[in-house]
Symmetry: C2
Subunit: 466 residues, 2 copies
């Protein structure tokens, strides 16, 4: 399976079955995305009624392609898909993305058609991603094989996050949202109806993918619960899996069913199973990304000991509240360290934890305080809070004060920066350089807690061998 | 008291005691802010060692000012403040903002000094906001009387939200954050140590202020719990109060104490009391603003009946989950309405609720569906979900499809729009025109739930007369 999926993510050649000249057709959008993404392999558009599209030679059938094809991408109408899959098999293609809709999600007839493509695929040896999916992106291969019009294929940027989304359109728009914000997404996988390849197969593959540091999943339901949990239990030992599970409520479950036909289940059941499998649960869409970018960039904290360094009292208190809620400890600062701190911060600033430096302290000194604290053995991670981003020089100093901290100490650092619009480019710069930035102190703390939760899971599994 | 506070928010003249030429001094920053904000009243800088600052005549003492003064703003060192307050009284000034720090928050000596200024103030008839505060902003009076360097005084924009923040620096940076995003803040009030004027006094005044449609409070603790709850109970009948209460945890409470010396208390106690008083609780900083902008712009829903209209399945499911969590009902769509909908949406789109239009449907049609649903009596509000913001024309259509909806039907509409950076100006446009926009479906639904929670409180109070 892993070998086959390798051809999905790193194809040397793609046959696009249903390629079109009409800019409104999916078979055109996806072709443009593949070309504009800068895909370095070969592209074979298939369409019996065309000879050339965008300078590429068009073949009437995949069987007429004179070279080997690693991956088929299919956008033809649903009824033709079984025949196309058959031809793919004859051509020796091992894997196909079926973009086409009109299967299980539409009712009994579509469901029968979906069974048929699986049957044909099994017979001729073609594994299927989809149907009714958006496709995949693999930025490190400069591959945008999606029908998305919101992702900018010319802006693909290698990264450490693999994002698996059951909702194609939402997945693409979130990917695109992250693109402009310096968040290092690498892969997007939309698996639609999961008639064959399922979330567990994808998980197993991503566990072996060197680029992927964290797997973020947006799931409505899982196809095979036991398989998923067994797979997740193995994969979570290798890298973190962040899951946002929707369709938890009765009504939500019904809505999910009409959307992808997925089986959904009670929230409590999922919660318990996820926990056992070492899955980090995101409560909402915001957390899914917040946690993802923390895992993608930060080392894991080796314990619960935290320091909060803040330039304003209020958000320090808010962060302290959340630390207590999520089980992070604010370490006590010993007398010696306090003396050291007293030398560099104003007399009225607090050297308790949270260390409240007051707005008078420069970001450079703020950074020095972080360094003093991170060098202590009992401090396992730092939550840095900055309010304000003016003047520009101040904001630039915020960037340089944080840039290399987590690397230098091999400890996680998260930054809550309440900045105004003028500093947005600097936030992107920090994100691109591996410092996760959050709008609010609560989000920063919860992300740190997710890191610690995963670290504790790994430690426990290592000590018990289970 | 209300008359006195009128002079705080709408002074015709201000004496700035401690005005300075040195750009690093608070007495300079605040003077620049007042000038750059475009304050239309008179400004009297007070400083015994200067004759003119920024073309304004400087007086050696407030007693030497030849005209009436409505408001004193004091930035002199703490030890001189009692004497200055005394002079204010002699001059007939009824209210002073004490910016200066070095009082209760610094220990027993500072506490004694704080008692002294209260004592002097009472004796000579001067009410005090502060000390150790940032000052106030009142955009509709073009008044920025703060020491903030992050708020842009030239960009004050009238609005419907009054933001009361115990944390000055955080408050200012949040205000500034909102400034660039089209969110209609009007007032910012930082009350610091609350030696005299407290959160209840401010609440009572804001209840009478015509500009203010919603009061958003960031509180570490309240000075006088009983007074606050009694005041809130009255005020909440007139306008909504959204409170984010920090310092809930034991450690957080300790941190708050070292910050402003405020008394804090157990979370559960506050929760129960807040509920009784009709206060809408924000769980975190994000919600505080999310709810604030919903109340500032939307009519209240007259019941729990909601419709979700979405162009992507996934976020529709996520929104449905949250609706169930927060007690909002998705209305059943009757056969007739479904027939009407079927005429304008594709055959494969869902006419159940959530109405999943699929990405193929244009924002114009999305807007038509919202209109059809909002015109039904049993629909009390709409949650609109759009993923994607490309191409530009599409994004512009999203704006026009939503602009006047809530006004036309006098029902609340919230929009979850997962847009990329290129659409940020359009989001600002929507916000400025009274449509609250959220990054994620969960945040949109929770904001709608806050509106409904307040509406239910008002209905209950009206029916029971309590």
């Amino acid at each position: 399976m892993s070998k086959v999926l390798h051809k999905l993510f790193k194809p040397r050649s793609i046959a696009l079955i249903g390629a079109s000249r009409d800019p409104k057709k999916l078979g055109n959008i996806i072709l443009r995305n593949i070309i504009n993404g800068g895909f370095r392999g070969k592209i074979f558009p298939i369409n019996p009624e065309a000879e050339e599209i965008y300078g590429l030679k068009v073949y009437p059938s995949v069987l007429k392609v004179p070279e080997d094809v690693d991956l088929a991408v299919i956008t033809v109408p649903a009824v033709i898909v079984p025949q196309v899959i058959k031809e793919c098999g004859e051509k020796g293609i091992k894997i196909a993305i079926v973009i086409s809709a009109g299967f299980r999600e539409t009712g009994p007839e579509g469901e029968a058609l979906e069974h048929k493509i699986v049957e044909v695929g099994e017979k001729v040896g073609v594994r299927i991603l989809g149907p009714n999916c958006l496709g995949i992106v693999n930025a490190s291969e400069r591959l945008d094989a999606t029908i998305s019009r919101v992702i900018d294929p010319s802006q693909l940027r290698e990264g450490a996050i693999a994002f698996v989304s059951q909702s194609g359109a939402f997945g693409a728009s979130l990917y695109s949202w992250a693109q402009g914000r310096g968040i290092s997404f690498d892969k997007l996988i939309s698996f639609g109806n999961m008639c064959d390849i399922d979330e567990s197969d994808i998980l197993s593959y991503l566990a072996t993918d060197k680029k992927t540091k964290v797997i973020v999943m947006y799931l409505e339901g899982v196809k095979n619960g036991r398989k998923f949990l067994e797979t997740a239990k193995k994969v979570s030992l290798v890298k973190p899996i962040v899951v946002m599970k929707i369709g938890k409520s009765a009504k939500g479950s019904q809505a999910a069913k009409s959307h992808t036909g997925a089986l959904t289940g009670a929230s409590a059941v999922y919660d318990a199973a996820f926990k056992q499998a070492g899955i980090i649960k995101a409560e909402n869409t915001t957390e899914m990304f917040d946690f993802g970018k923390a895992f993608a960039t930060q080392p894991l904290p080796k314990g619960n000991g935290m320091v909060i360094v803040t330039n304003a009292g209020g958000p320090g208190v808010a962060a302290t509240d959340v630390c207590q809620d999520v089980g992070l400890d604010l370490v006590e600062i010993d007398e010696n360290t306090r003396k050291t701190l007293k030398k560099i911060i104003p007399p009225f600033a607090s050297t308790l934890n949270p260390i409240d430096t007051t707005p008078q302290v420069s970001p450079r000194v703020h950074g020095e305080i972080l360094k003093i604290m991170l060098s202590l053995e009992k401090v396992h991670g730092a939550i840095s809070i900055i309010v304000g981003s003016k003047p520009r020089q101040y904001a630039e100093e915020v960037v340089s004060a944080h840039l290399d901290l987590s690397k230098e100490f091999n400890k996680p650092v998260v930054l809550s920066w309440t900045a105004d619009k003028s500093a947005e480019d600097l936030i992107v710069k920090l994100e691109e350089n591996g410092i996760p930035v959050y709008d609010t102190p609560e989000r920063a703390v919860r992300s740190m807690a997710a890191l610690r939760k995963y670290a504790a899971f790994i430690e426990k599994r290592a000590s018990t061998g289970k």
